[in-house]
Symmetry: C2
DNA sequence: AAATATATACGAAAGCTTTCGTAATTGCAA
DNA sequence: TTGCAATTACGAAAGCTTTCGTATATATTT
């Protein structure tokens, strides 16, 4: 599976969240998101043009990142790969390029500087317990 | 601090590992690394041209990613920011774009699918303990 | 000294992602 | 039907990173 670019990823996020959508719907959601993000002080982000989103999604269809149903006039697009699988692929690439392939280094860095809440820590501890169980059985 | 690109990051990795170096030395190490990576079956990766590395490092100097000492004929380059700080910045950006800003999601994904060894898990558990202590005091 | 090797500087090409303008098509409304 | 709105298709421009050729300067070797 080909890795999505930054812009493609923002479209995939919308599709994962809201299911199969038309270009118009995706573009609307992307721009609504921009509006929400904008606070008074920040520079007013320019909305994404409709044909920009269209073109991007056409390219994604060519790459196989999305499937599209062309039976209706407004084509309906679906993410080709699930969120988990895509995150997994991007994570691998990121760990390789930035942490020399060491997932542990990544985790330590992520936990070390971010003030994780006790709830988050608890969730991670639970997962570690599970993993240790599996390890014992293996 | 500006985020380094993929190619720039590979140069920073060399500088972090080996300290201040000339363009020639960086280029040699990049290509030696390529040679090591290459196994018999893989397509023979093309070595990186000297002027390519030179130009990239000049651009990095312009961006402020490296400092350079031009007192000698062969300029000597140094990484401007430390490895930890740079990793931290890249991590933040990655968590935002790929995990919607949730470090916890990233950690869970990183631990979940990678068969971490018990030594790795122990290291992470230690860190969690420390963090919980700090949390109590805060 | 002359020839050779090595360095930097610099512009431009190549390759990629994103943005945009415009034409052609289709559906809908007056 | 005619006109208007919305959609796709498509090429090209803009912007960025990477690669490369070449000119120029500086050292080294013969």
């Amino acid at each position: 599976m080909i890795a999505p670019t930054e812009g493609e990823l923002s479209i995939l996020r919308v599709l994962w969240e809201a299911g199969p959508l038309t270009v118009r719907e995706v573009n609307d959601r992307l721009n609504r998101r921009l509006l929400k993000q904008r606070s008074a002080a920040e520079p007013p982000e320019k909305p994404i043009g409709y044909t920009t989103t269209l073109k991007l999604m056409q390219v994604m269809a060519d790459k196989g990142l999305v499937h599209r149903d062309t039976s209706a006039r407004s084509h309906v697009y679906t993410a080709a790969a699930g969120r988990e699988r895509t995150q997994q692929g991007l994570l691998r690439r990121f760990v390789d390029s930035t942490f020399g392939g060491s997932r542990t280094q990544l985790v330590l860095r992520a936990l070390g500087e971010g003030n994780p809440t006790s709830a988050e820590l608890a969730e991670i501890k639970d997962l570690i317990k599970q993993l240790e169980k599996e390890d014992r059985h293996a």
